[in-house]
């Protein structure tokens, strides 16, 4: 197993961990944290491919992704907190108005 | 030249009226009513002029307009008058002002919207009759649904939502199937001829295999049969009539139902003659069942409007019988019966509206002895009852007599060739005249004679506006009853054409 495969394996592991975590955990803030983990896995794979192909585009993409992740968190956490204040719980299972 | 312009004007005047009503804000209800009436009268005047100019001895379309619309599919704005639609267009224009005048005092909320909707329906109905292009026909056919939905849903009675949903969904269901059939039909014609066309004249040219015809006819027939309505697809009509406001009922019974029979006459049977021939016995059975079943049901209704609704089903059974008889007398009778029923049922519903405005009840049990309380009303009601029964000198007789005679003419030779089903059906249809007298006279008896009984007495008899409306109906009924020669002369060539096209069918068992 060479370096690239190892790194991609790590990225995939990070991503799946994040995904599984989002699926399993019911606390909204924890879900957001796991989503960050997913993003990190994606970023790692981006950098790995960038190194492999000796171009800069993958590496450059990392910065927009970081910014977007940050912006996303900056907006998501206040929304979650507002909804949580309404519901008095952070449990995602309780937020099911869109059912039926 | 001037005539085709006039024809377009006749079609588009109501649309313009609707636009004007919806776009302008100020103006009193009174202004809305008078201007709507004026517009309808103008349309009537133009239609009358066109009717007189229509030449019954020339075959084919008159006063045509053909303008490309959607060029990629060869869809054209193609309208014209021929023998099949001239009487129906005249009927529609004749009923227009009567509907507006009839609703004068009955509609007091959202008057502007109401009149706009009446205009849209007028536009859609006239367009359906005038369209000579299948795409255009379908558009107008569908266009009638929305305003009817609103008219029943907003100004209707207690169960109006149920009634209007039933009406729209039922009709729309048929229309969807018809759309599929339209698309297939045009596509298959395009395969055969190499070019697209939606025009009626082109669609009939290349015969389709019997199996295909059967499916297409079934799809079209479903949609038309729902509209007529034919048993067993009729249950939307009584509910729609009962819950609709008077104007809605008059439009519905007066013209809308004729769209179904017109569809059969113009499209359904001539385009698929082989399938029509193959299913002729079934069509006969359905027509006669409509006549008898409708009449029997009319006998046991407690609501005046339901009696007239079921009587409509029965009367239109005669129309269908005349059409499937494929006898010239029967076909002409069917056309006359279409117009006659429009006048008679329209008049009866108008009268129901008048009594409802006074007494707020449609229950037969609530009334009695109206001949004493409202003598003028009763005279008109009695005349309309007699017309419904088909008394000679009224238009009802003309239509029924010719349709039955035509049916008989068709059934007797078949009987002599040892297949008596049609004859049995024809005889059953004749017994329909007894049932017709039974339920109408029973209705008249309960309402007009005996002890006097009515809510909210003392009652005022008909005022000048109401008398004028009823006089118009009655004069038209007697005119068509005593002097049908003129109208028949205008429709004869088209009726013959219809007959030829269906009789030109070829079935597997025919001799070569």
């Amino acid at each position: 197993m060479d370096r690239t495969q190892l790194l991609l394996g790590l990225a995939f592991a990070l991503f799946s961990l994040g995904f599984v975590g989002v699926m399993i955990r019911r606390n909204a803030l924890v879900m957001l944290m796991f989503m960050e983990l997913m993003l990190n896995g994606v970023i790692l794979s981006l950098v790995t491919f960038a190194e492999r192909s000796a171009t800069l585009s993958g590496a450059v993409l990392v910065f927009p992704v970081f910014v977007v992740a940050a912006a996303e968190i900056a907006i998501a956490i206040p929304i979650v907190l507002l909804v949580a204040r309404r519901r008095r719980t952070l449990d995602v299972g309780a937020w099911s108005e869109l059912k039926g | 030249m001037a005539e085709s312009a006039a024809l377009n004007l006749v079609l588009w005047l109501p649309a313009l009226g609707m636009a004007w009503l919806l776009l302008t804000r100020n103006g009193s209800d009174r202004g809305v009513r008078w201007s709507s009436l004026g517009l309808m009268l103008l349309q009537l005047a133009l239609t009358a002029w066109l009717y007189l100019r229509f030449d019954g001895s020339m075959p084919g379309l008159q006063f045509e307009t053909r303008v490309p619309w959607i060029a990629d599919w060869n869809v054209n704005y193609h309208v014209g008058l021929d023998g099949l639609n001239v009487l129906l267009v005249a009927l529609t224009a004749f009923l227009g002002p009567l509907v507006i005048a009839g609703a004068w005092t009955a509609v007091d909320k959202q008057v502007r919207l109401f009149h706009a909707m009446v205009f849209v329906i007028q536009f859609a109905m006239t367009g359906t009759f005038l369209a000579q292009d299948l795409f255009l026909f379908y558009v107008f056919w569908e266009a009638m649904l929305i305003p009817m939905f609103l008219i029943i849903g907003i100004w209707g009675g207690e169960r109006r939502i149920y009634a209007t949903l039933k009406f729209v969904l039922y009709t729309a269901f048929g229309s969807i199937l018809m759309l599929a059939a339209v698309i297939y039909l045009v596509w298959s014609q395009a395969q055969a001829t190499g070019e697209f066309s939606f025009d009626f004249a082109d669609l009939g040219r290349h015969p389709l295999p019997l199996g295909v015809q059967t499916w297409l006819l079934a799809a079209f027939a479903l949609s038309f049969a729902i509209k007529v309505p034919m048993v067993p697809l009729h249950t939307w009509l009584p509910d729609a009539h009962v819950e609709a406001p008077t104007a809605g009922s008059v439009i519905l019974a007066g013209v809308l139902l004729k769209m179904g029979t017109y569809g059969f006459m113009k499209l359904g049977f001539p385009l698929f003659p082989d399938a029509t021939r193959a299913f002729l016995p079934a069509l006969w059975v359905l027509s006669v069942v409509s006549i008898v079943y409708g009449a029997c049901l009319a006998l046991v209704q407690p609501d005046i409007k339901k009696v007239i609704a079921y009587s409509s089903i029965s009367h239109l059974g005669y129309v269908m019988l005349g059409l499937v008889s494929l006898d010239l007398l029967g076909i002409q009778g069917a056309i006359v019966q279409m117009v006659s029923h429009g006048l008679v049922a329209g008049g009866l519903f108008t009268m129901v509206g008048m009594i409802y405005e006074r007494c707020h009840s449609r229950e037969i049990a609530a009334y009695g002895g109206l001949a004493k309380l409202l003598p003028v009303y009763s005279v008109f009601f009695a005349i309309l009852t007699l017309a419904s029964i088909g008394l000679p000198t009224t238009s009802g007789f003309t239509g029924e007599f010719m349709a039955l005679l035509g049916a008989f003419n068709a059934a007797w030779p078949v009987h002599e060739a040892r297949a008596s089903l049609l004859l049995v059906l024809a005889v059953l249809a004749v017994t329909g005249v007894v049932l017709g007298a039974l339920y109408m006279l029973w209705l008249a008896q309960r309402l007009l004679f005996g002890e006097t009984r009515a809510p909210h007495q003392p009652l005022k008899d008909l005022d000048a506006r109401e008398r004028a409306i009823m006089l118009a109906f009655v004069v038209a009924i007697f005119a068509l009853g005593l002097f049908p020669r003129g109208p028949l002369a205008k429709t004869e060539l088209a009726a013959l054409d219809y007959q030829q096209r269906v009789l030109a069918s070829r079935l597997p068992g025919d001799a070569p």
Partner: protein, 625 residues
């Protein structure tokens, strides 16, 4: 405008004038217009009659206008005057005018005077269309039209629901007959391509037989005739029709409308001559009806009902004559019957008028001296109907009996025997009526007795005229007058020697009926009541009119209503059709409900599903991509 069209339109003008303006212009105007126009029509008819004889016996034809043209066939509104229709027109306008004049007295105090005369004129218009029409179509227009007029006039006092219901019954029963008429008409049109009477007769008398069975057409048209002329089984409306004003009963239900069926068959004699089965049926139905109605008349207690059943019975005689091929004789009886029956009805009207509304003969009596004019007229007419010579009824009834016996076209001893028994009954119940009403000691209550007064001249004058006509009318031998148009049948040579004995026998029968009536009713009702007690079952059957109405209600009326309500409405429309519709709708709703249960609103479940979807897509792409 030609003469025939004028005759028809004059009463129509009367209808329109009185109908639209009568109420406003007062009784004088209504009377003048209402009576004047029929009289003018009568005069025009006389003039036309004169022209007819001048035209070498050929018929006068006049076309008013063309109603419709379909293909090669033209439906014209044409009129046809030959000896038969001329005679009928004279009867209709003549007796009609007399009854109009009588009505000015009888209906003097009625609030709806104008409406009455309007309807009466309308009736006359349609009746003239019927008898003058050249084609079955015009005849049918008149046929239905007189049904309408009858409906309006029977239910004239419509505030009484029973009277209004009687009108409706008449119309519906007629309509049933009309269905038969229509079918016969259709058959004729199909086979011959024409509906003109003269053409139809010629076709059936011609060398080539038409493609349709004459008997079938004959039976169908006869069904129509049974409706209009109240023969079995469509006779049930006529007794109920007595609910209308008495002059109406006289005009419509005695002299004219009910004879329309007889006219129709007589008019189409060319067809019936070659339709032996149909003719046989007509004869049998006719004589059976005559007998059946006479038995009911014997026990009726309402003066008008006796006359109603008597009319049904006499119409039966007319059909008997038609059935054995003696068409002219049947019309002869129409003619004499118009006189004496109208006289009887108008006399009854006089009695009812004199007694202030009493119609039950058990509460009459002793009127002979109190209202002598009415009594004499009534007595003359009674003798006429009983067939006593030399009054009118004797001549016509006798011819009928003779042809029933001896005609080569279906005459038989059996027909004659039944008819003779019926004649005996006729004499009996008519003299019973005369006795109980006029000659027995009074059974009137006090109030009525004081009220008794003689009728005004308008009524008495007409009665006198009709009585005279009932007396001498028979000397004009209508059947011989009509021979050029409808030849009389051959009579069996072997039987000809019996003609005179049979005449004598008929007179004896009439006198026997008279004697029996006098015997039973001489002192009043006592003897009759004792007879009733001895035969209770029979009396019940006859009083119940053989329960025919109840039979119809049970076999037709109630089942129709039951089927329409239970089967068609509740089962068919509501449960089956609407049920399946609602079922479809609820099916759609339930399916949608189930499907939407996927949408739980749970975020994580959505993620799971998304994962599944992606996995499936990748797997698919790997497999097939």
């Amino acid at each position: 405008m030609n003469l025939l069209t004028l005759i028809v339109l004059l009463p129509l003008a009367g209808f329109l004038l009185n109908g639209l303006f009568g109420a406003r212009l007062g009784k004088g105007f209504v009377s003048v217009v209402g009576c004047g126009l029929p009289v003018l029509a009568f005069l025009a008819a006389v003039r036309a009659f004169g022209e007819l004889d001048g035209a070498a016996g050929l018929a006068l034809v006049a076309t008013a206008y063309t109603w419709a043209v379909v293909g090669d066939f033209s439906f014209d509104i044409s009129f046809y005057l030959d000896r038969l229709s001329a005679l009928m027109t004279l009867i209709v306008t003549g007796v009609g005018s007399l009854i109009h004049i009588y009505s000015t007295g009888y209906m003097k105090d009625d609030a709806s005077y104008a409406r009455y005369f309007a309807y009466l004129n309308l009736f006359l218009f349609f009746m003239l269309l019927l008898v003058l029409g050249r084609s079955l179509l015009v005849c049918f227009v008149g046929w239905e039209g007189v049904g309408l007029a009858s409906y309006l006039l029977i239910g004239f006092w419509f505030e009484d629901p029973a009277k209004a219901a009687a009108g409706k019954k008449a119309f519906i029963t007629n309509r049933v007959g009309d269905a038969g008429f229509l079918l016969g008409m259709f058959l004729l049109y199909h086979a011959l391509g024409t509906l003109d009477f003269d053409a139809v007769n010629a076709a059936f008398q011609g060398p080539v037989a038409p493609a349709v069975s004459a008997s079938l057409v004959g039976v169908l048209l006869f069904i129509g005739a049974t409706g209009k002329s109240a023969q079995i089984p469509l006779h049930v409306w006529l007794p109920d029709a007595m609910a209308g004003p008495t002059p109406v009963s006289a005009l419509i239900h005695a002299a004219t409308m009910v004879t329309a069926g007889v006219y129709l068959v007589a008019r189409l004699n060319g067809l019936y001559l070659v339709a032996p089965e149909a003719s046989q049926l007509i004869a049998v139905v006719g004589v059976a009806t005559a007998f059946f109605a006479a038995t009911i008349a014997v026990v009726q207690t309402d003066i008008k009902k006796v006359l109603a059943y008597s009319t049904i019975s006499q119409l039966g005689f007319m059909f008997l004559a038609l059935g054995v091929g003696a068409y002219g004789v049947a019309v002869f009886h129409v003619y004499t019957h118009a006189f004496f029956k109208a006289c009887l009805f108008l006399g009854a009207g006089s009695v009812i008028h004199a007694l202030g509304g009493e119609q039950d003969i058990r509460r009459m009596g002793g009127l002979a001296k109190r209202i002598p004019v009415t009594f004499v007229a009534f007595a003359v007419a009674t003798a006429a109907i009983a067939g006593l010579p030399p009054l009118a009824g004797f001549f016509s009834k006798d011819e009928i009996l003779w042809y029933a016996f001896a005609s080569e076209r279906g005459g038989s001893a059996l027909l004659w025997a039944v008819a003779s028994v019926t004649a005996l009954l006729t004499a009996f119940y008519m003299f019973r009526l005369l006795m109980l009403t006029f000659l027995t000691p009074s059974r009137m209550d006090e109030h009525t007795e004081h009220h008794v007064h003689e009728s005004p001249l308008s009524m008495n004058g007409v009665l006198a005229v009709l009585a005279v006509l009932s007396a001498i009318g028979g000397f004009f031998h209508v059947h011989l007058f009509l021979e050029p148009v409808m030849p009389l049948p051959e009579t069996a040579h072997a039987l000809e020697h019996l003609e005179l004995p049979l005449i004598i026998l008929a007179v004896v029968v009439g006198l026997a009926g008279l004697a029996a009536a006098v015997y039973v009713y001489r002192g009043g009702l006592d003897r009759a009541e004792r007879l009733e007690r001895r035969f209770p079952g029979l009396h019940r059957l006859l009083s119940g009119r053989y329960y025919v109405d109840e039979l119809y209600e049970a076999v037709l009326g109630r089942p129709l209503h039951w089927v329409s309500d239970r089967v068609f409405l509740k089962l068919g429309d509501r449960r089956l059709i609407d049920g399946s519709l609602h079922g479809l709708a609820s099916l759609a709703q339930r399916a949608a409900g189930r499907l939407s249960s996927v949408e739980t609103g749970q975020l994580q479940q959505y993620l799971w599903l998304a994962l599944m979807g992606i996995v499936a897509m990748l797997a698919w792409m790997w497999r097939y991509g």
